[in-house]
């Protein structure tokens, strides 16, 4: 019947609206539910899989594990990494290829992790930093091996 349907319509409409208001009202009186994080003061603990930028591992004697094999450069899909090599003279007089400069273009990097996988000596890894903003984009071109660092002994 028309009038019964009409009243049923009104009733259903009002109850569904009240249901919605109950939820927002619940949130309003329960500030604990707030999911906002006040960013600079409180920093979130990032999950392990988060990748921010490529860094080179150095030990306390300022030694790294990069042999300059360019496996990472070849693996990179965006030409993010550019490795410049030099020739060291070993104590027994032989010439040996070694890393000179490890150039890393952060602005090109997609954090795909392929370089890390490709590295045979485990020299580079992904860091969890994410505040990369700078005033000049040339600052995003980084040299990963620290000045004066040399190859760790026993890494071939």
């Amino acid at each position: 019947m028309f009038i019964v349907d009409y009243i049923k319509d009104v009733y259903n409409g009002v109850t569904s609206l009240l249901k919605g208001m109950r939820l927002t009202g619940y949130y309003f009186v329960h500030p604990k539910e707030i999911i906002t994080q006040e960013y600079p003061e409180v920093k979130q603990v990032l999950p392990e899989r988060f990748k921010g930028e490529v860094v080179m591992r150095h030990n306390e004697n300022n030694e790294h594990r990069c042999t300059g094999c360019t496996a990472c450069e070849l693996a990179c899909p965006n030409a993010t990494i550019k490795i410049v090599t030099k020739f060291d003279i070993t104590p027994d007089g032989k010439k040996k290829k070694a890393l000179d400069v490890f150039v890393y273009h952060l602005e090109l990097c997609t954090m795909c992790n392929l370089c890390i996988v490709a590295c045979p000596t485990d020299a580079i890894k992904m860091a969890q930093t994410f505040e990369h903003s700078v005033y000049d984009r040339t600052e995003l071109t980084k040299v990963l091996n620290k000045p004066g660092s040399k190859l760790m002994d026993g890494v071939e």
């Binding site: 319509d9 609206l17 919605g20 208001m21 927002t24 009202g25 949130y27 539910e33 999911i35």
Partner: protein
């Protein structure tokens, strides 16, 4: 005890002692004008901040919390920004009407402030048709919106203005009928008499079923009349960028924004006056002791408490419900609210004639 009535009375006496009556009247007008403008500014700041905080908490956010303690100075900072911004006038606009529209909206909001009773004897103009005056003047605010929408020479503005016009003209009916139901009960249009008739209990309790229905219709209709979500068809950010005030910037935009919030305050004040007794404290029939304790809370606190309660309710609607489509909006009015409020008016008349209220 400190009371605003004696304050107003003393100012009146003092001015009349010093100056001749005409000058005293003029200076009282100036004082009231300045007072209303100051109230507008404070209301704008408080209500915008309240809206942002309420919306934030309802959406599990924190809202503004950087400028000042807990973000209290946020709206002041925003206002400062708006004052400093350039007020642009579009090239193809009707410049005169474009610049006039925000002032029309503001003047209408100011006129609506006149019959509101803040506390006993503290009222700008206790006009004997108070409630009718409110409905009459509030029908003017649509003119400002239509003017702004037309003069901007922008398709979004025009569509927003037309929607707003259709909406306000139709929802005025059920708001008027809801108010009329309460007028039937009180037998007067004068605000002070409506408040006085609630001496022994608020109408929403005394008038039981029809009063509650009337209140629900009233709150829905005024939400639509002030163009707020879920009835914000006139602005509808996702469809019309900003509706009728798309082309406005700087202080003129701020006027529209301020007028929206002041209008909310006014309609909530009217709702509080009609249904919740205005400045009248919470009285229960013949419990003398209880009524006496309630009388210790000053009327102005009761008034603002009730008004802000209703404002909170309207904000609650806004941040819960999705926006209606224009046909749903008109359907709601013409097939649900209007018949129900007409039926309710009839019911209320029967109850008022037979004295079936408390």
């Amino acid at each position: 005890m400190f009371s605003l009535e004696s304050l107003a009375h003393n100012i009146d006496l003092g001015l009349n002692n010093i100056f001749p009556p005409t000058v005293a009247l003029l200076s009282e007008m100036v004082i009231i004008g300045v007072g209303v403008i100051a109230l507008f500014a404070v209301l704008g700041l408080v209500l915008v901040f309240m809206e942002r905080k309420v919306s934030a908490y309802m959406q599990i956010r924190k809202g503004p919390n950087r400028v000042g303690y807990q973000g209290f100075a946020q709206t002041a900072a925003d206002t400062l920004k708006l004052v400093l911004k350039e007020g642009l006038t579009p090239d193809g606009a009707d410049k005169f009407l474009f610049n006039l529209a925000p002032f029309i909206v503001m003047i209408v909001a100011m006129l609506l402030m006149a019959p509101i009773a803040f506390t006993k004897g503290f009222q700008i103009w206790d006009i004997n048709i108070g409630v009718l005056y409110i409905s009459a003047i509030s029908s003017l605010s649509v003119i400002g919106i239509l003017m702004a929408g037309w003069a901007s020479n922008n398709k979004y503005s025009l569509i927003g203005a037309m929607r707003s016009g259709a909406q306000i003209v139709s929802y005025e009916l059920s708001a008027g009928l809801a108010i009329l139901a309460m007028v039937v009960l009180t037998g007067s249009l004068q605000i002070s008499e409506i408040v006085a008739s609630q001496q022994n209990g608020w109408w929403i309790f005394k008038g039981h079923i029809p009063a509650v229905i009337s209140f629900i219709i009233f709150i829905i209709a005024v939400t639509a009349e002030t163009n707020r979500a879920p009835f914000d068809m006139a602005e509808a950010e996702s469809e019309l960028t900003a509706g009728f005030h798309t082309e406005y910037s700087g202080m003129r935009f701020a006027f529209f924004f301020l007028a929206e919030y002041v209008n909310i305050f006014i309609v909530c004040a009217i709702g509080a006056t009609l249904y919740f007794g205005g400045w009248m404290p919470f009285h229960v029939g013949t419990w003398e002791a209880f009524n006496h304790v309630m009388d210790f809370i000053p009327g102005v606190v009761w008034f603002f408490g009730k008004t802000f309660g209703l404002i909170f309710l309207i904000m609650w609607f806004r941040w819960t419900f999705p926006r209606l489509r224009i046909d749903q909006l008109l359907n709601l009015e013409w097939t649900y609210l209007l018949p129900i409020s007409m039926f309710n008016l009839l019911l209320m008349t029967i109850i008022a004639i037979n004295g079936w209220y408390f």
